[in-house]
Structures are given as structure tokens and as C-alpha cells.
Symmetry: C2
Subunit: 214 residues, 2 copies
DNA sequence: CGACACATGTAACACGTTACATGATTTG
DNA sequence: CAAATCATGTAACGTGTTACATGTGTCG
């Protein structure tokens, strides 16, 4: 659904052709979310079917152009005004994974957290590196009212969102670990003897050993 | 893809029937991500097609059971070991929206940020309320080795992830706002005179007026 | 000319959502 | 018995991904 509106937003700047839309979409989001070209064409077909865009002649080079319609502009402005619904967020694979790992036999949840943390931190490093570059780019292109500066700023914002998100994820993983330690301590005191749980001992060790590179 | 593995994880506890899987899935994730029953059956068919599960007779009540296979267990354990790839995260609608709003004519990006922030903060309140309840539930069910306590803990973790995420989003929105203020200040100084930017003035004001409740 | 890149499509497939159809069981 | 509920499925649709087929320029 976001691609639909993303393309509409680009088309509001003026008529574009398919592959151009892909390029501009990726300049804005800094190739974080590579957009398949085929997707552009199918989405354009659907937008045309829904009356949001219309074919608008050809380029100098003969590329078929699409233009946004009034209905498309209406839809686009509604999209900008309507906040993204965060009360029913998209399913997050990591959250589901940890939810399923809680108390599951044969799964060492702390190992799951560990390996995820290292992946998360690695992503964090990449993002930080990219941000340094993005800052330089913004600096260089600032002052030009061209689309270059606009794209660089957009990319910087996207990147910073990724950083904020990743940081939150890392902190959450730490939080999970300490929370599980605390809970298992009280649970063990309440239900099962601390060291005599042979089921856990037998199932945790091999799961742990199986981890690492793959 | 997370539903697939989520169902597999539940099936590793023992054979289940369709609607039971849905119920258990929702107990774990605390109804954050309501799971359509139909989805369960189609996913089970695909899992069976791929050799991850097999029909395993009937319940006492006559419900058709599915059991996980060795291949399914293998797949499941790989899933637990393999960290979620955060270097190519799923497209985020909000990030795309802001990226498209940067420098777009007819769009007041600060208004977009504002309305999103209020939606985000509202979600935050809901989550906080839910967390208070979840803590009580965990407290009450702790010490029982039953599936109740496990589900309550899983739900608490999921909830806390949502809280961490939402908090990060709110902070990012603030960050965007101040960053845009700073950038537009330097951009204006660099390219166009501070107050005499008629293009900006003409495009921002009406966009602002058009926004608000809808 | 041949290789390469660019651009436009289309087909096949996976996943997810909604809605509908159909039995079986329980409950007023 | 009638209504409601639970459970199992299926159909239609939207979105997204990958891969393939095809044309059209450009450049060595």
C-alpha cells in the first residue's frame, strides 16, 4: 500500500515513466528498500484501473508517461493527512519468534536473543556508517534547491528512522534477557527446583551448541 | 513467513487442530496481531505440501489433527537460530510517507509529523495501559508451570517491544522536526533569501490550512 | 556487427485478508 | 426446535517478489 502512494507522490511532481519512478523512489529512500521495476508497472496498471493516474503521451525519448488525476491527488492528500495506524502494527517476525520461544522445549531463548543481538548490532554499524556519508551528502547538496538536496535529506531521515528502530530493538533485547532472568528465578522458586530440571538441562545445551555461524 | 513458523512452533508442542492453533497463537501474542482462521488452514495446507506437517488422525471430539514432521522440526530450529535480517527491513509506511513529503509541493511536512505524533502517542497510552494489566497477569500466573504463565510472559514481551518501538518512533518524529527546521534554515540562507521565498510561503500556508481533522 | 544496458511489460507464485458456504454442537 | 457458536474449509482479491521475454538504443 505504501508503494501505491509513493508512486502517486512522485507523480504529483509531474508526469513520469515507469523506470524513472523506480529510480526516483530509490533516490528518496536511499536504496533501503530496493523497488522492483516490475512492481512499478503492475502498480501503475492498478492505479490506472482505479482512476488515480492516466497515460499522458510520450517522452521525447518515446517513454510512455503517466500523469496523476484529480482523484489521485485527492487520495494522495488523504494519505498524507491520515496518520499511519500504529494501534494495529504489522506483524513483526522477531516478536513472534521470541513469543514462540518462551518456554518452548528444545529452544534456548537466551541463545536466540544473543544471536539476534549480534545481527542487530551489526545492522546498527552499517546504518551508522551510512549516516556519516549521508550527512556529508546533505552538507554538500544543501543550498541547492535541486532535487538532489531533497533526496539527500529524505534519505537521511529514513536512515535515522532505521537507526532509532534498531537502537530500540537492541535495548528491547537486553530488556527481554533481564526480564526472563528475573521471571525464571521467581518461577523456579515457585514451581520447579533450581538445578534439578533435567529436561531443561538436556534440551538447552545442544541447542546452544548448535548456534553460531551458518 | 512468520505465521508459517509460528504454527510450526506451536505444533512442536504436540498435534493440534486448526482453530486451536489460532487460539494459541493469539494467546501468545496477546491479540496484537489477530490471526484469521482461514489463514491457518491455508498455511497448514502449504506446510503439508512442503512436508513440514502431516495429518495425524482425529481428536476425541473429531477435530482433524496435524503433527510436525522431522523436516518441520529442522526448519523450525533453523528459524530459531537464524537471526531476523535487519539489514533489509520491511518497508515502513511512515518512513516512505515522510520521505515523499520532504520538499513536496502542497504538503506541509510538519503537519504530517504533528498528526502522526498524536497517533503515535495515543498508541503509546494504549500499550502502557495494556502493560499494566499484563504485569498483573504475569504476577498472578507466575509460579504455575502451566501454559497460562508462559503465554502471559510472551504477551508481556511482545507488548514491551511495541512500547520500545513506539517510543523510538515518537523520538524520531521529534528529531525529524528539529532536523528539518535546522536544514531549512541553512538551505534558505544558502540558496534563497530568508523571508522572500515566495514559492515556499505560497505552498506551505494553504497546505497547512487544508490539514487537520477529517 | 555484437555486447551491453535500459526500458517495458507479463507470468507464476507466495502470502495475507475478507467474505462466504457448510456442518456440528451447544444452549435458550 | 431455533438460534448461536464453534470448526473446517474455499473463493476472490490485493500486494509483493522473482524470473522471463522482448524491444531499443548505444558503444566498442
Amino acid at each position: 500500500m505504501s508503494i501505491r502512494h509513493g508512486l502517486l507522490a512522485l507523480l504529483e511532481q509531474g508526469p513520469r515513466y515507469g523506470s524513472q519512478l523506480r529510480t526516483e523512489f530509490e533516490s528518496r529512500t536511499g536504496a533501503t528498500w530496493p523497488l522492483n521495476v516490475g512492481q512499478v508497472y503492475t502498480t501503475l496498471s492498478r492505479l490506472e484501473r482505479d482512476g488515480m493516474v492516466v497515460p499522458d503521451g510520450d517522452d521525447d525519448a518515446g517513454h510512455p508517461l503517466y500523469a496523476i488525476t484529480d482523484a489521485g491527488r485527492e487520495e494522495l492528500h488523504e494519505w498524507f493527512e491520515r496518520p499511519v495506524d500504529r494501534t494495529s502494527p504489522p506483524r513483526d517476525e522477531l516478536a513472534i519468534k521470541l513469543a514462540m520461544a518462551v518456554g518452548a522445549a528444545g529452544v534456548d531463548i537466551r541463545a536466540v536473543i544473543q544471536s539476534q543481538r549480534s545481527a542487530t548490532l551489526k545492522a546498527m554499524q552499517d546504518y551508522t556508517r551510512l549516516k556519516a556519508q549521508a550527512l556529508i551528502a546533505v552538507e554538500a547538496s544543501s543550498g541547492q534547491e535541486s532535487e538532489r538536496g531533497r533526496d539527500d535529506v529524505a534519505w537521511l531521515l529514513v536512515l535515522e528512522q532505521l537507526i532509532f528502530q534498531t537502537e530500540a530493538e537492541a535495548r528491547w533485547l537486553d530488556h527481554c534477557e533481564s526480564r526472563l532472568v528475573r521471571l525464571s528465578a521467581t518461577a523456579v522458586r515457585g514451581a520447579t527446583p533450581p538445578q534439578a530440571d533435567t529436561t531443561k538441562a538436556a534440551s538447552e545445551k545442544p541447542a546452544r551448541a548448535r548456534l553460531g555461524r551458518r
